[in-house]
């Protein structure tokens, strides 16, 4: 069974204090690893997709990296508006014609940036 573990559960940072969030996974045949941001009471908002070990993607103050067993979301000089829950999800198994699109999520890291 696919498993995704995120750490830490919660993280409080001062504005401008850089850090990293971890997502470790156990799957049979990774097809893609996804990072989402979720604000309270809202649906997840897509950030990145990573497909193979060594891949990196950046967007503003965020950078996502992928190894064969884990992914990191690096946050550089965060601002209060970066406060949210960050979710990691994996898609695994054999790719078929619009079948098997299931995402398996971790429980998320709740990030708070203090002004």
């Amino acid at each position: 069974e696919d498993q995704v573990t995120q750490s830490p559960e919660a993280l409080r940072l001062q504005e401008g204090e850089s850090s990293s969030l971890n997502c470790s996974y156990t799957v049979s045949g990774l097809r893609g690893l996804f990072w989402y941001r979720q604000d309270p009471g809202k649906g997840p908002e897509f950030l990145f997709t990573l497909y193979s070990a060594g891949e990196e993607k950046e967007k503003e103050r965020l950078k996502a990296t992928l190894t064969k067993k884990e992914s990191f979301l690096h946050i550089t000089a965060p601002k209060p508006e970066d406060s949210a829950t960050y979710l990691c999800a994996v898609q695994a198994g054999v790719r078929s014609n619009f079948g098997n699109e299931k995402l398996t999520f971790g429980t998320g890291t709740r990030l708070t940036i203090i002004p």
Binding site: F34, Y36, G41, K42, G43, A89, S96, G99, E101, L103
Partner: protein, 112 residues
């Protein structure tokens, strides 16, 4: 362009009742998936539909069912509601296999 829309926004039901949640995907998206998110947890996969056919099912009881219509919108039905069904129900659509899934704002279901 409009994103994924869901209705209703909030819903309060009592144990044993039935509920129907609705989802309209992004225009041009033919795949719709449903997720349940209990407070403090990550979303959990319930169903995936493509071209009106069920393409994936998560580990949920038979009280949960869904369908997709010719216009690609979808309904999630839950029968015999339990207190534990209280959650945020999320709908997501995608353009093609393996592509990012776009999530709607969710329906907050409270079972009393």
């Amino acid at each position: 362009d409009a994103g994924v829309t869901q209705s209703p926004t909030h819903l309060i039901k009592t144990r044993g009742q039935h509920v129907t949640l609705r989802c309209s995907p992004i225009s041009g998206h033919k795949s719709v998936s449903w997720y349940q998110q209990v407070l403090g947890q990550g979303p959990q996969f319930i169903f995936q539909y493509y071209e009106k056919e069920e393409r994936g099912r998560g580990n949920f009881p038979d009280r949960f069912s869904a369908r997709q219509f010719p216009n690609y919108s979808s309904e999630l039905n839950v029968n015999a509601l339990l207190l534990g069904d209280s959650a945020l129900y999320l709908c997501a659509s995608s353009l093609e296999a393996g592509a990012r899934q776009f999530f709607g704002p969710g329906t907050r279901l409270t079972v009393l």
